[in-house]
Symmetry: C2
Subunit: 280 residues, 2 copies
């Protein structure tokens, strides 16, 4: 299952690159997008920055809760592994999001978290949270804000998974992802997915083959353009309209997914262009 996983949690040598800068409150507020009333706090707070390489595990499922994290850079996968080895992905997290908030009310982490690419997080020891919250009201606000946003995300995900058709699930996922990318200041219509088909499939609750097929279907409809993990959204309005389908679209829409247009609207390009990347 786990591909390369060189250092569990952080096997000794990770600590080398770990401890580094101590951030300011203003920095964290800006990172998390917390709307703060009194932007007074240029206070330095004792959170360290930890770097992780692709595939490295930040927290293990069942480990004692010792810290909270704020994603500075990179992408994370939040997942649970049941005893038969199946990996259930519960969320993906990117810059500005909090990790481990759901563990605050328990003794051990209910989920595992790993980095999908080279990433970095600010580490806030649990023991510091009460004192920080009291000393810096902005910190408490930030925690509230991030927790709230994470819950909203999770609720959105429930909405995504509730869609019947797999193409609709994928469309909703892409739209959510697009909005998140925009929130990070990146292009909402052209991005590189940091996760594999299998992980998307797990999140969406379908087989990975189905995700593959759904990608090609959406592409055949002219809504998106896909080249491996590189995704371009060609028709955002159309994609949004497609994503709105709930039950039986009532009329035509079911024809479109019956079979691909048959007249290769795709320029018959091989799956991996090898050279030209996702023509604009």
């Amino acid at each position: 299952m786990s591909r390369r996983n060189p250092s569990q949690t952080h096997g000794g040598q990770a600590d080398r690159t770990a401890r580094s800068a101590v951030s300011t409150m203003a920095d964290l507020l800006q990172l998390t997008g917390t709307p703060v009333e009194r932007p007074q706090a240029a206070e330095r707070i004792p959170v360290v920055l930890r770097h992780l390489h692709a595939g490295e595990c930040l927290v293990l499922e069942g480990a004692p809760v010792d810290a909270l994290f704020f994603v500075r850079a990179g992408t994370f996968k939040i997942f649970r592994t049941d005893e038969d080895g199946y990996e259930q992905v519960l969320a993906f997290a990117i810059r500005g999001e909090v990790l481990g908030f759901d563990a605050l009310c328990m003794a051990s982490y209910p989920v595992a978290i790993s980095a999908l690419e080279a990433s970095a997080v600010h580490v806030v020891p649990c023991s510091d949270i009460p004192s920080l919250s009291q000393a810096l009201p902005a910190f408490g606000q930030m925690l509230q804000h991030c927790g709230s946003r994470t819950l909203a995300h999770s609720r959105e995900l429930v909405d995504i998974m509730a869609a019947v058709a797999s193409e609709v699930r994928l469309a909703r996922f892409l739209i959510q992802h697009s909005r998140r990318m925009a929130d990070c200041g990146l292009s909402p219509s052209r991005f590189l997915l940091r996760m594999g088909r299998r992980e998307i499939a797990s999140l969406l609750g379908v087989a990975h083959e189905t995700v593959s097929r759904s990608f090609t279907t959406l592409a055949a409809l002219g809504l998106i353009q896909v080249c491996d993990r590189e995704v371009g959204i060609r028709d955002m309005d159309g994609l949004a309209a497609f994503a709105r389908s709930t039950r039986r679209p009532m009329d035509a829409p079911l024809i479109v997914r019956a079979r691909l247009p048959a007249n290769g609207s795709m320029p018959a390009q091989s799956r991996r262009p090898t050279v030209h990347r996702l023509a604009a």
Copy 2:
């Protein structure tokens, strides 16, 4: 859709029964199960108790965010309605849980919340949150705790919906519900579902007929006992084992759900016993 809905939000006359007691901090901490370090706060805080009757709406989707709620009694349904009228249930909330936490980071409620039975909530105006958090550290802790718990719930739900087989989804739902009932001090093995099949179906992401069939299947397996909305868990371990099935159970387990035992293990009783309620 909405059955009787006499007062939208609270159409004037609801305010009559609304305003009442002002709670103490200790009361709320106990209600929400917040582990507090210094149980000093017997402080009285300005939160009012609001009563709702069955079917009444606490917040409307899209309404401006003005308050946060803590469930004192009853059951609530958190849901979203898309433009074609389909109601997507995102969660159920019971005693001790926070409502509206996901709205803290936005201007308007992303979801609607309605009472499934006669219920009561403590109302905390949003404008009071910063001052309360600063004046009473325990309040901030409580908010954190409840928000964290709600997120954990939502993540669990994702796990529930990720299950392939509908019976497994239902089994997981029942187990989660059972644990929640236990947390409230109620019996974990015998409870009355406050929501209809259609609402469970929406939450689980299946058709309501499928929920019905799954109920009968689980009952036929001897794992539970169902009589309309009254549910008894006969074999918690068996149910938990059944709920663990992820993908293709590998061997036998698929036989059990192939067809009901055929030898009516159910005493041929009509759906509604009319007199004897769910024999022990």
